[in-house]
Symmetry: C2
């Protein structure tokens, strides 16, 4: 089964205390699509300008990502620039040039409308709605978000929560949305807003799933050095959806293991700028770290 991924496709200029890297391939959909592509066929929906480097189209193609839904229009590709502090937890946006992204309206090719697995990666909730409006009957829809939408599009987001199966957000966003300091209390409140599955990402502390089978405490893969955490959350949910689309059996039977794969692909993402590390790994590298995580958590 393939997974449909809709989100931002961008050029990221990233500055860390160690280095500066301009105009890397980025955006929520790029990270999620590359991560998912290790497990299942991927259909990417997004928009780029006519300045979008051909090498990045090549990168998508090498990962066998279906680009029928990628609009290439006249103008500039969405460009984000940010800077990390030493501890990599604090990020400061230096620049946001929306470019062609400003008028982006995700339009699904006919071949995409019957997709069973749908990832609404981080993008305006109104656009996430617009995607669902075009779908015939998806089996499993997961949405990601960011603090920006909680601030400026909360109504749209709350309506979206009634239309999706799974909602992925980080601990800060869970707190912002529910006003609950305790993450498990926050999760309980988010379930009441609609989603059957709630996943809270906690960066290097791993993530928490709450669903019909109760909680799952998902570890992060231990990294001694984080090069650039941009896109780690998108990689996590992308790999998770790719795994689910590829697996036989129920969501409940597969979701925990899919999250472990998500953790592992996110760990590779953090080891390089943008997608440089992730795009160079093989499935066997992923499997090795999954086996390691099994050993690291067994008692």
């Amino acid at each position: 089964m393939s997974v449909l991924i809709v989100g931002s496709t961008a050029l990221d200029s990233i500055k860390t205390p160690m280095a500066e890297n301009p105009r890397l391939l980025g955006g929520s959909a790029s990270h999620a699509a590359v991560a998912a592509s290790f497990f299942s066929p991927v259909k990417l929906v997004g928009v780029v300008g006519d300045d979008f480097p051909k090498k990045y189209i090549g990168l998508y193609r090498r990962r066998k990502i279906d680009l029928a839904g990628l609009q290439i229009v006249q103008g500039k590709t969405f460009h984000w620039s940010g800077e990390y502090e030493v501890n990599m937890n604090n990020r400061r946006t230096l620049l946001t040039e929306l470019g062609v992204f400003e008028r982006f309206m995700p339009h699904l090719p006919e071949s995409h409308k019957a997709s069973e697995f749908v990832l609404l990666a981080n993008i305006a909730p109104a656009l996430q709605h617009h995607v669902l409006d075009q779908m015939s009957r998806p089996k499993f829809v997961v949405a990601d978000t960011m603090d920006l939408w909680l601030n400026i599009a909360l109504g749209d987001l709350l309506q979206l929560l009634r239309r999706i199966d799974g909602f992925v957000l980080n601990d800060g966003e869970a707190h912002q949305l529910t006003k609950k300091d305790n993450v498990f209390a926050a999760i309980k409140k988010i379930h009441r807003l609609g989603p059957k599955y709630v996943i809270v990402k906690k960066g290097s502390h791993g993530s928490i799933l709450s669903g019909p089978r109760g909680y799952f405490i998902c570890p992060a893969y231990p990294l001694h050095r984080v090069c650039d955490p941009t896109g780690a959350g998108d990689s996590f949910v992308g790999a998770m959806m790719g795994c689910l689309a590829a697996a036989r059996g129920t969501i409940d039977a597969n979701l925990r293991r899919a999250m472990i794969y998500g953790s592992v692909v996110a760990s590779f993402c953090c080891e390089g700028f943008g997608l440089t590390r992730t795009s160079g790994i093989r499935r066997s590298d992923i499997e090795r770290r999954v086996r390691e995580l099994e050993k690291l958590t067994t008692f």
Copy 2:
């Protein structure tokens, strides 16, 4: 096998946004000893004043804690007063009255000197040294600490690290000690200072063990409400040492599971003020949560 626990025995006045509780039984050794007592016989070494409430002696006795090493001297019991903010992660000390603790010199009864399992709970490193000076040949020595000793007794602490098997500290302290932001990089540096086993506590995010068998990522038990986290770290390490003292086989074979028991007893500690919740539970309550944690982490 019994476990020898040396540390502070205090009266804690704790204020949270919800309530205020004066003069509860507290101190690192009290929390650790009660936690350990669910698993193995415990020998407590500490000091209290002649104002120490008889009911707390009764509490120790009900947990069958050996009090031969508890000095009761003329003067006031160590009294600490602190206030938590809403999110329970920020604590402010309101008052510290050392009382008889100021001149405390841990003196081991003959019967204690051959103890095989020794927990040097949080106390001045010089006193932790003094305990080891009196021991004949302990099998497994673990020390806990706090930021205060990193600030005012770093030399003593660094010498102590060469004399112990395991070192337990929280993530903030690990950062302070090593100047490393990355917790795994910090652990690596701490190993070089001496300890074969390093355990970093991360509060609600669980803990990390590093030892000869590699890392173990130990989850925290999920709590929807934290009443008072005072003593949770002491409970964690106390229960861990109690488990190890009670178990057959090598430290390596038992340490991961012992940490899980530590997580569970710490979770009970957080559910009540001081030792009120922990002192009311049974071994079967602990076993139930251990089984739950197994389910919450399996994938």
